[in-house]
Symmetry: C2
C-alpha cells in the first residue's frame, strides 16, 4: 500500500518532509542554465534540459534524508512537451533513488475522464486487448474535489489496484481559499469540514496497517486552527501540508496536522529548499555551484525544525 | 478578445457547438490503429500517432461547420509524452483550420503555480531576459474554482493580455456534482449560485463588444433547472455546456443556458460525434472507413437539433 510505504519511509528517515520540485527556470543556477542553453539554444528544450540537471542534483543531495518528492506539474507543462519529458525523467530518477513521487497536478474530472487521468499518473493505459503500458509513473497524485465522488472514485480504484495514493484538496494554503472553502452550510459546517468528512469516508477501503488511508488530504500550513479540527475529522487521512517556509507557515503551524504519535502528516517545502543557495540563511555558506549542498543543509534544518516542534507538541 | 472571436464564429457558422476531441484509442477506427501500430508498435507512440490521424480527419470533416474544438487533456496525458505530442499537434492543426481550441484541463492551483499553468496553455513562458516561447497554444482553458480567486486571477490576466478565455466549473454534468456544488449556505444560496456570482464578477474586466466576458462558466446539460437560474446570475458569462448526447442531455435541456438572442452558450459533444460511425443513428449509413463523414453528419444533425430547440424557445 502506498500509505504504508510512505509511513515506513518517514519512520526510517525520521523526517515527515516532502521536497517540492517546482523548477522555474529562474531557480536554476546560471552555470547549469548556460550549459543547457549553449547546447540546446534558449528554447523550451534548453530550459527543460537545465531543469533535468537541476532536479537530478537536488535528488542526489536529499534522497537519503527525505521520503518523497513532489513535482508540481504546472512547472513542467509550462515548458511544453520538453517540460513533460523533464517531468517524466524526474519521476523516474527519483523513484530509482528510492523516493516516493507525489505528482502535484490537482487533477479533476468526471467518470471515464477521471479514469483517464488516473491511468495517466497512477495506473496503466490500455493500448489493445491485453496490452497495457504506463504513461507517467508517480506514486501518488493530488486531486481536486469540486466534482464530488464521481471525480475521485476512479483514482481510488487505482490506489487499490496499483498501490498508489491520492491527496484531496480540503483547505488550501492560499489567502482566498476561504472564498469557497470557508462557506458555512445550513447544518453549520464549513465546506472544508464537509470535504474532510468525505475524504475520511472515501478512503475507508484503502487503509493500511498503520490505520491510515492511501486517500489523504491537503491542508495548508497557513491555517493551523482549521488543521486541528480537520485532523480530528479525518482520523484516517494522511495530511499533505503545503505552505511551510516561503509561504509563511512555521513548524509550530504544521504540528496540528499531526497525531500525537508523530504520524499523520507530511510537510512540503519547495522554494526554500530548491533556492536555499539564494536564501539569507545559506547564501553566505554556499556559493551557487554548491546549490545542492545548500538544499541538503536546508532539508536537514527543516527536519530538525519539524521534529523539535513535534517533540514540544507531544 | 477571445469571446468576440468565439461569438463571431458561432454566428458565421450558425452553430453553437464545440466538438470534444477525447480520443480514447477504442474510438479510433481499426484501419488507422492497425497502420499506426504496424509502423510504431503497439506502444504509447503507436496509439498517439493513431490519435493524431483520427483527430486530423475529424477536424477536416467538421471545421467549416463548428466554431471550436475541445481536446480533453486527460485523454492525451493518458498516452504519456507521446500523447502530449498528439495534443500539441491537434491544437496546431485545428487552429490552422480556423477553429478555436478550448483545452479542457480543469487546471487549478494558487499564485505563481496558477500562473505557470496559464503560461503553459494561454500565455508565454519566459526562458531568459526578453526571451519568451509558447509552450502549448490553446485559445481557452477550463479551470476549477476550489481555491478561489488566487487560483483564477493569473488566468484572467493572460485572457486580457493574450486574447484568451477561460471557462470556470460552476455546475458540472455528473451525478455526484451536488455533493459539493448543491450544498446550501447560511444565506440560502447554493455553492453553484455563489460560484456563478464570482464568475460574473471575476470576468468584468474582459468583456467584449457583445457584452459577454472571456471568463465563462461550465454548466452541465443534465441540470436544465439550475441552468435557468445560473443564466440569470451570470449575465455576462458565456456558458460551456457539456453533457449533450452520450451523457443524456437533450437540445431542450441545453436551451436554458442561452439568452433569448440565441447567444450565451456553446454546447459540447464528444463521443456522439467522434464515434458517430458506431452509433445506431449512423452505422448503417457509414462504414468504419467513412468515420469522418459520419462525424460530419452528426455535427449537422446536432446543429439542426440545437437550432430548432432554440427557435422553439425564442
Amino acid at each position: 500500500m502506498f500509505i504504508d510505504k510512505l509511513i515506513e519511509s518517514i519512520k526510517e528517515k525520521n523526517n515527515p518532509t516532502v521536497v517540492g520540485l517546482d523548477p522555474k527556470i529562474e531557480y536554476v543556477p546560471s552555470f547549469i542554465k548556460e550549459k543547457a542553453f549553449k547546447e540546446f539554444g534558449v528554447t523550451l528544450k534548453g530550459a527543460a534540459q537545465a531543469i533535468i540537471q537541476f532536479n537530478k542534483q537536488l535528488v542526489d543531495a536529499v534522497y537519503d534524508q527525505v521520503p518523497a518528492v513532489k513535482p508540481q506539474l504546472a512547472y513542467y507543462e509550462m515548458y511544453g512537451i520538453e517540460g513533460m519529458i523533464a517531468f517524466d525523467e524526474t519521476c523516474r530518477y527519483a523513484r530509482g533513488k528510492g523516493l516516493l513521487v507525489i505528482a502535484d497536478g490537482k487533477r479533476n474530472d468526471i467518470g471515464t475522464t477521471a479514469e483517464a487521468y488516473s491511468r495517466a499518473f497512477l495506473g496503466e493505459t490500455v493500448l489493445a486487448d491485453g496490452i497495457k503500458q504506463k504513461a507517467f509513473d508517480a506514486d501518488a497524485l493530488t486531486v481536486s474535489p469540486y466534482l464530488g465522488i464521481d471525480g475521485i472514485k476512479p483514482f481510488i480504484d487505482d490506489c487499490d489496484k496499483h498501490e498508489k495514493g491520492i491527496f484531496v484538496l480540503v483547505k488550501t494554503s492560499n489567502k482566498s481559499s476561504g472564498q469557497l472553502q470557508d462557506l458555512v452550510t445550513q447544518d453549520c459546517r464549513s465546506i472544508y469540514e464537509i470535504m474532510a468528512s468525505y475524504v475520511n469516508e472515501w478512503g475507508k477501503n484503502v487503509r493500511g496497517q498503520y490505520g491510515y488511508s492511501s486517500v489523504g488530504a491537503v491542508v495548508g500550513a497557513t491555517y493551523p486552527n482549521q488543521a486541528k479540527l480537520l485532523r480530528s475529522i479525518m482520523k484516517h487521512a494522511y495530511i499533505l501540508v503545503p505552505g511551510y517556509g516561503a509561504q509563511g507557515g512555521t513548524a509550530r503551524d504544521c504540528v496540528n496536522n499531526f497525531n500525537s504519535d508523530g504520524l499523520g502528516a507530511i510537510v512540503n517545502a519547495s522554494r526554500s529548499i530548491m533556492c536555499a543557495y539564494m536564501s539569507d540563511n545559506w547564501k553566505n555558506l554556499y556559493s551557487e555551484d554548491k546549490f545542492a549542498e545548500a538544499a541538503r543543509a536546508e532539508v536537514i534544518r527543516m527536519k530538525e525544525d519539524l521534529n523539535s516542534a513535534l517533540a514540544g507538541y507531544r
